[in-house]
C-alpha cells in the first residue's frame, strides 16, 4: 500500500453543478422568444425520459410520438442502421412516424463544399421541423451531423435576430411557421434513455464481448453542452453516449488513446480526397483500437463514422495493417441484443468489414440467417412478392 496525501482518481468525485454552468440555458431563451412572438417552440411530448447533459442540466427525451428525421447516408448506404431504429420502436409498440415530407439536413454538403449559406441551412432545418410539427410528432434526428448542425442552427436562430427574420419570411412564403424544438434529440440519446428497457428484453448474452466506442464529432463537439454526460461514466469527463448503452447490455467497453479523434470522414474528403479518410481512419482509429483494446467490435452512432471506419479497412487490409474490426451503430447492437435478424433487420450485408466472427461469438448461426434473408430475396427476384415487409422481418 502506498500512503500518499493525494487521492487516487477513483476516489476523486466530480460533482456536476448546473449552477456553475458557464452558459445560459438555451431553452429559457427559446421560451422567452416564444413569449415575444418571435417563434413557436415544439414541446417534447409526454411521457418523456430524462438524461443529464454536460453541465448537469436535464434534457427531455421523448419515448414516442417521434418523427424520424432520417439520414441520407444511413438510408442510402447502410440502411440497416435506420431499419434497426424503427425495429426498436416497433418492438416496444411505440407510436413513431417515418415521414416522406422530409429532406436531408444538407449539412454534409455544406461542410464539404460550402455551396450554401446560413439562411438556406436554417430554412431547410425549420422546414423539416415544421413538417414534423404539422403532423403532431417530435423530431428525432438520426444523423450525428444533422443533430450537430441543427443544434448550431437553433443556437444561431436564438442569437441572431436578422437570421430569425429571414427564416421567418421564408417559412411564411412556404406557408409554414418558424418552429423550433424544445430539445434537439439524437436517436442515440433515445437508445441510451431506453437502455434499461432494452436490457430487460435482451435475448442474446453479450457479457463476453469487448467493444470500443467512437463518439461522433458533431454529436459532442458542436454545442458540446447539449451532449449526454453521466458522472458514472468516465467521471463525466466525456460524453456517456453509446458507452452507457453498451454497458447496460453487459458489454465491456474498453478505452483507447485516440477516442477523441475524428473518424477521418472529413465531409469532402470521404467523397473526393479519400486518401486522407482511409489513412486517418486506419492509423488513428482502427489500429489503435486493435492494439490497445483488441475489441470484438467498434460501435458508433453516426452515418459518416460507421461508413468511414468500416469502408476504410479494405485498403488497410491490402497494406497489411492491423484491421478487421467490425463496425456497427448502437441501434444495430441494441436491436441484435433483443433478437433482431442480422440480415433482415440489421442488414449487415451492406457493411464491408467481416462481421461474421462477431455474430458467431454471439452464438448466431450466420449461414442459416443469411439463407433466410436470401430466401426473401429469391421471392422478390421471382416476382412472388414486391417487397420484404416488417412482418417478414419480424417472424
Amino acid at each position: 500500500m502506498i500512503h500518499l496525501p493525494v487521492l487516487k482518481a477513483s476516489d476523486r468525485l466530480f460533482k456536476i453543478d448546473p449552477e456553475e454552468a458557464p452558459t445560459h440555458d438555451l431553452r429559457d431563451e427559446l421560451f422567452q422568444l416564444e413569449k415575444e412572438g418571435e417563434l413557436e417552440v415544439i414541446r417534447v411530448p409526454e411521457p418523456y425520459m430524462e438524461v443529464k447533459t454536460k453541465y448537469g442540466r436535464i434534457k427531455k427525451i421523448p419515448v414516442e410520438k417521434t418523427w424520424h428525421h432520417k439520414s441520407c447516408g444511413q438510408c442510402g448506404h447502410i440502411p440497416g442502421y435506420s431499419t434497426s431504429i424503427f425495429w426498436l420502436n416497433r418492438a416496444f409498440g411505440l407510436d413513431y412516424y417515418d415521414p416522406t415530407d422530409q429532406t436531408s439536413c444538407t449539412a454534409w454538403n455544406y461542410y464539404a463544399s460550402a455551396t450554401s449559406n446560413p439562411e438556406a441551412q436554417a430554412a431547410v432545418a425549420i422546414r423539416n421541423f415544421a413538417a414534423a410539427h404539422e403532423v403532431g410528432y417530435f423530431p428525432l434526428i438520426h444523423c450525428g451531423t444533422s443533430f450537430g448542425h441543427y443544434k448550431e442552427v437553433r443556437h444561431a436562430l436564438v442569437h441572431q435576430p436578422e437570421l430569425r427574420r429571414k427564416v421567418r419570411d421564408i417559412m411564411k412564403r412556404l406557408g409554414k411557421k418558424l418552429v423550433v424544438p424544445e430539445e434537439v434529440v439524437h436517436y442515440s440519446e433515445w437508445v441510451l434513455a431506453m437502455r434499461d428497457r432494452i436490457a430487460e428484453r435482451q435475448v442474446i448474452d453479450m457479457s463476453h464481448i469487448t467493444a470500443t466506442v467512437h463518439p461522433a464529432c458533431h454529436y459532442h463537439k458542436l454545442i458540446e453542452e447539449d451532449a449526454v454526460y453521466d458522472s458514472e461514466i468516465y467521471g463525466a469527463q466525456r460524453s456517456a453516449i453509446v458507452t452507457a448503452t453498451l454497458q447496460a447490455l453487459g458489454i465491456n467497453v474498453a478505452d483507447y488513446s485516440t477516442w477523441f479523434d475524428c473518424c477521418g470522414f472529413g465531409f469532402r474528403h470521404i467523397l473526393v480526397s479519400r486518401d486522407f479518410s482511409r489513412s486517418f481512419s486506419v492509423q488513428r482509429k482502427i489500429e489503435v483500437m486493435r492494439e490497445e483494446a483488441n475489441p470484438d467490435i467498434t460501435v458508433t452512432h453516426d452515418t459518416g463514422c460507421v461508413t468511414t471506419l468500416d469502408q476504410s479497412q479494405v485498403v488497410g487490409k491490402a497494406h497489411k495493417k492491423k484491421v478487421g474490426l467490425p463496425v456497427m451503430a448502437d441501434s444495430q447492437v441494441a436491436a441484435l441484443a433483443m433478437g433482431a435478424h442480422p440480415y433482415k433487420v440489421l442488414q449487415l450485408h451492406w457493411h464491408n468489414t467481416d462481421n461474421k466472427p462477431f455474430l458467431r461469438k454471439l452464438g448466431i448461426d450466420v449461414d442459416k440467417t443469411w439463407a433466410e434473408f436470401q430466401a426473401e430475396c429469391d421471392l422478390i427476384k421471382a416476382g412472388k412478392k414486391e417487397f420484404m415487409t416488417w412482418e417478414d422481418a419480424e417472424k
Binding site: 502506498i2 500518499l4 496525501p5 493525494v6 487521492l7 487516487k8 482518481a9 477513483s10 476523486r12 468525485l13 466530480f14 460533482k15 456536476i16 456553475e20 458557464p22 468516465y234 467521471g235 463525466a236 469527463q237 466525456r238 478505452d255 488513446s257 485516440t258 477516442w259 477523441f260 490497445e292
Partner: protein, 352 residues
C-alpha cells in the same frame, strides 16, 4: 459615537496582516476564522514552500502570525462563520455562528479576507482526465506531496522520470467564463519544478504554457533558475488531451515554435489550476450587499488607485477576495485595508 473596533473575516495571510495593522495602530481587531487555526489556504492545503522565495510555509506563516497571537488587542474567534450583517460605517452589527451558537459583534468597519478556491479540473474544457487518471494531479496535490518531501506517481508509488506541468487550467478561458489570468500559477509551477528537481535530480520536467507570467523579481528568482540551474523545459504550446497509454499518460498538444502537433509520454502531469472566488467570499458578498464582478469576485471601487474599498462604506475587501492574488498582494491589501478602515472610522469621529 462611532465604534472603533474592526472585524476581520478570514485568518489567512491578508486577514492576519490586517489584524496586525489594526492592533499595531492601537485599536481592537476581532478576527473570525471558520477553521480551528489560522494560516488560510497555504496552511489548509499544506503548501510546502512559498513562492517566490521557497521559504518553508509553516515557518513563514508562524512568523507572520506571531504578533497577533496572545495580543490583547486581537480577539481571535475560531470555528466561526459570519451569517448576517446590519448597520453602517461606524456602527455595524455582525451575526455569526460559533460551533452552532449564535454570537454578535459590534464593530465600526469590516475587512473581508475570505480568499479563493482552486479551480476544479472536472469543469475544464480540455480533456485532462483528472477524474480518470491517478497520475494527473493538481498544483495543490503536488504541494501536499512536496510538504512531505516525497514525490512519487500516485498510481504506483514510483519516482517519476518525466513529468509536465500544464498552465492556465481554469484560467484565461472564455468558454469557462474565467477570462482572467490567475497570476500565480506560472510562478508556482516553476517553484515546484525546482523543488521536484531538488528531490529527484534525474527527473525531466516540462512546462507547457501559453505565456509565462512571472513579473518583477519572480523572473530572476524562479524563472531563470528553473531554466538555467534546474534545466526545466519550457515549451510554448498547450496540451489539450491527456489519455492513458500503457502505464504512462500520453499528453497531446502543439509545440507551437516547431509548428507541429506533439504527443509525449509522461509519468505524471500536474495541472496548474487557477483561482476562483471561495464560497466564503461569495457568501460575504451576499451578506454585505457588495458588488461582484462577472467572475464572482468582490468588486473594488477605485480601480488601480483604490484596491480595497467596496460599494459599502466601511467594508473592505482584501487578498484574493477581489481577484487572483499572490501573498505579496494579500499582505499589501491587508495592511492597506487596516489603514483605510481606521481612517474612515476616525474621520467620522472628527466630523461628528
Amino acid at each position: 459615537m462611532a465604534n472603533e473596533n474592526v472585524l476581520i473575516i478570514g485568518g489567512g495571510a491578508a486577514g492576519i496582516e490586517a489584524a496586525k495593522g489594526i492592533s499595531g495602530l492601537g485599536f481592537k481587531a476581532i478576527l473570525v476564522e471558520k477553521r480551528d487555526r489560522l494560516g488560510g489556504t497555504p496552511d489548509e492545503e499544506k503548501y510546502a514552500a512559498l513562492t517566490p522565495d521557497l521559504r518553508d510555509t509553516q515557518e513563514a506563516l508562524g512568523d507572520l502570525m506571531a504578533p497577533i497571537k496572545d495580543n490583547p488587542l486581537v480577539d481571535i474567534h475560531y470555528n466561526t462563520l459570519v451569517t448576517g450583517a446590519s448597520g453602517e460605517l461606524g456602527n455595524f452589527t455582525i451575526k455569526a455562528l460559533q460551533l452552532g451558537k449564535e454570537i454578535e459583534f459590534q464593530v465600526g468597519a469590516v475587512i473581508i479576507a475570505t480568499g479563493f478556491k482552486h479551480f476544479d479540473p472536472g469543469r475544464e474544457t480540455q480533456k485532462y482526465s483528472y477524474y480518470e487518471l491517478d497520475d494527473v494531479i493538481t498544483l495543490t496535490d503536488a504541494e501536499k506531496m512536496l510538504s512531505e518531501h516525497k514525490f512519487v506517481r500516485p498510481s504506483n508509488g514510483e519516482e517519476p522520470k518525466r513529468l509536465c506541468f500544464i498552465q492556465c487550467v481554469g484560467s484565461r478561458d472564455r468558454r469557462l467564463g474565467n477570462e482572467y489570468c490567475s497570476k500565480v500559477c506560472c510562478g508556482i509551477s516553476s517553484k515546484q519544478s525546482i523543488e521536484i528537481k531538488k528531490l529527484l535530480p534525474d527527473c525531466k520536467i516540462y512546462i507547457f504554457y501559453i505565456d509565462m507570467r512571472m513579473y518583477g523579481y519572480w523572473e530572476n528568482e524562479i524563472y531563470w533558475p528553473a531554466q538555467e540551474k534546474y534545466k526545466v523545459n519550457y515549451i510554448k504550446g498547450m496540451a489539450t488531451e491527456i489519455v492513458k497509454k500503457g502505464d504512462k499518460v500520453l499528453v497531446k498538444g502543439e509545440d507551437t515554435t516547431l509548428r507541429r502537433p506533439m504527443e509525449v509520454e509522461m509519468d505524471m502531469v500536474i495541472l496548474a489550476v487557477g483561482m476562483e472566488p471561495s464560497e466564503g467570499t461569495q457568501q460575504m458578498a451576499e451578506i454585505f450587499g457588495l458588488n461582484k464582478n462577472k467572475y464572482g469576485f468582490i468588486e473594488t471601487t477605485g480601480g488601480c488607485l483604490d484596491t480595497v474599498s467596496t460599494n459599502v462604506p466601511g467594508v473592505y475587501a482584501v487578498g484574493a477576495t477581489t481577484g487572483p492574488a499572490d501573498l505579496e498582494d494579500s499582505v499589501s491589501t491587508g495592511g492597506l485595508a487596516a489603514m483605510k478602515a481606521l481612517s474612515a472610522i476616525r474621520s467620522l469621529a472628527v466630523t461628528a
